[in-house]
Amino acid sequence: MTLRILLAVVMAAIPLVTGPLAARPAGQAARAGGPLEITSSMMVERRSAAADGTTRVTLVKPTRVSPGDRIIFVLAYHNVGTQPLSDVVLANPLPRAIAYRSASPGSPAPEVSVDGKTYGALAALRMPALDGSTRAAGADDVTHVRWRIATPLAAGAQGQFAFQAVLK
């Protein structure tokens, strides 16, 4: 319970939610009720020269984003309940202006979909062509990504997935 409150405070401190809450019945209030917390964030890379001469890349809020810029989508999950959760699937439909590129290094690769129905590895997906045939799908065709967590998620377990995309 203490943890729950702390987390809520942290969420308020990071103003990630700026959309109209009233328009989203599944917003803050609903989230407090379930045992699985999921937090979406979009970040951009900022490069700066470090003292040792290398280039340091940090992730910052997407305050300056123009077409062609890379955006990292991070999806964090946390089982805040007392029961293990099974069959956990985290899905992220891509915003229309976003083109999928790849899983972030260090994150498991998501299953991707070009229609929101069929998920799989990108190489296995086909796109319909005008002449009725199909062609191999490319990263630009991806409309949805999802991760399935195979083993039950124990109480208190948490983690995150991330993928890279560019602003069209």
Binding site: G19, M42, P62, H78, S86, D87, L94
Partner: protein, 361 residues
């Protein structure tokens, strides 16, 4: 609090590796329009003790910034060839808006320094934006700044200037400068304010990012240079003289003969054979032949010859006084027996006639 710190570290760890993964994708098109709000949320499904549950994440947004890019090129294969004293000579440029938004563009021109053969400046220099047909039309192309140019579209821009009457002139370079300005106002009289690059990164605000990669990169400006090259210093002017007996005292107008008392009409056909270059202040003089008498008030100027024969033009005053609605003047000097006709401007490829009549003594 520990939860947050742990997650934050995790995130940074991911990022440092991610930075080396791939280069950003260059886009030929300007991309998502500035001001677009990109919204993301994720969802989860899971089961607790066999009961399926779903969950929606928070919603995160950012606003797409204005990535300013433009190109300005000379839109003609070479310098414009002009003649000394030519007026309204045109240079054609083309401006492309590669910004992810609708923009105005401010236009200025400056005349090149006297280098690389540039040895004179043109006069009365104006900049006009094309109305869309790609051809300069003084009546239609009157806007002096680019108004509301959509993303990924281009438009022709004309520099129009007069060439001075300087026989030593050879080349005048003109550099056209375009500066990105705020769009959003349809006003064709007031241009948008010049854009400046945002100094801060404001969240949920359309920042201005200059992304032009030309000679001076990331300044929101572009320039291109074209020149006026003098190729014509003189014009080919010819005068052809002919005469026709109009009437005689015996036969009248029917097959008149050149007998004393007959009226003879002289015809001077003047032609400027040089394309596009007017001849200014053309004076035609002719002394009437001996044994003839000038017919008072018989000078006409401006008739357009037909099949090599003169057609009567506007009657002139023998005194040289101007004639209403006619640019021409003419005079007859009874002392020197000299007929003079003055044509203020004879355009390139223009032909016109001067006529006068005498009687045979």
């Amino acid at each position: 609090m520990s939860t947050y710190v742990a997650r934050h570290r995790l995130l940074r760890g991911t990022a440092v590796i991610a930075g080396l993964a791939f280069a950003g994708t260059a886009q030929a098109q300007s991309g998502t329009a500035a001001g677009t709000v990109v919204t993301n949320s994720a969802s989860a499904s899971y089961s607790v003790n066999g009961v399926n549950q779903t969950k929606t994440s928070n919603t995160v947004t950012f606003k797409v910034d204005r990535k300013v890019n433009l190109t300005l090129i000379a839109d003609q294969p070479a310098n414009t060839e002009v003649a000394v004293s030519q007026s309204a000579a045109v240079l054609k440029f083309r401006l492309t808006n590669s910004t992810n938004g609708v923009q105005d563009f401010l236009l200025t021109a400056n005349q090149g320094v006297l280098l690389n053969g540039d040895n004179f400046d043109v006069a009365n220099l104006k900049i006009y934006v094309d109305d869309g047909d790609g051809i300069y039309d003084a009546a239609k192309d009157t806007l002096e700044f680019v108004n509301e140019l959509a993303a990924d579209t281009s438009i022709a821009i004309f520099v129009v200037a007069d060439i001075p009457a300087d026989q030593a002139a050879q080349l005048a370079n003109v550099t056209l400068n375009a500066q990105v300005a705020e769009g959003g106002s349809a006003s064709t009289t007031v241009a948008g304010a010049a854009l400046t690059q945002s100094l801060t990164n404001d969240d949920q605000v359309v920042d201005v990012v200059f992304a032009d990669a030309d000679t001076v990169p990331r300044d929101g400006r572009a320039f291109a240079t074209l020149g006026y090259a003098i190729t014509t210093r003189d014009v080919t002017l010819t005068v052809v003289k002919s005469s026709t007996v109009i009437s005689d005292p015996i036969n009248g107008l029917v097959v008149p003969k050149a007998i004393p008392g007959a009226v003879v009409q002289y015809c001077l056909i003047v032609n400027n054979a040089t394309l596009l270059t007017p001849a200014n202040g053309v004076n035609i003089t002719d002394t009437i032949p001996a044994n003839t008498t000038y017919v008072p008030g018989s000078i006409t100027v401006g008739g357009i010859p037909l099949l090599g024969a003169c057609v009567l033009g506007t009657p002139m005053n023998d005194s040289g006084a101007p004639v209403a609605l006619s640019p021409y003047t003419a005079s007859y000097n009874a002392g020197t027996k000299l007929v003079t006709a003055t044509i203020p401007q004879l355009n390139g490829l223009q032909t016109l006639g001067v006529t006068f009549q005498v009687t045979i003594n």
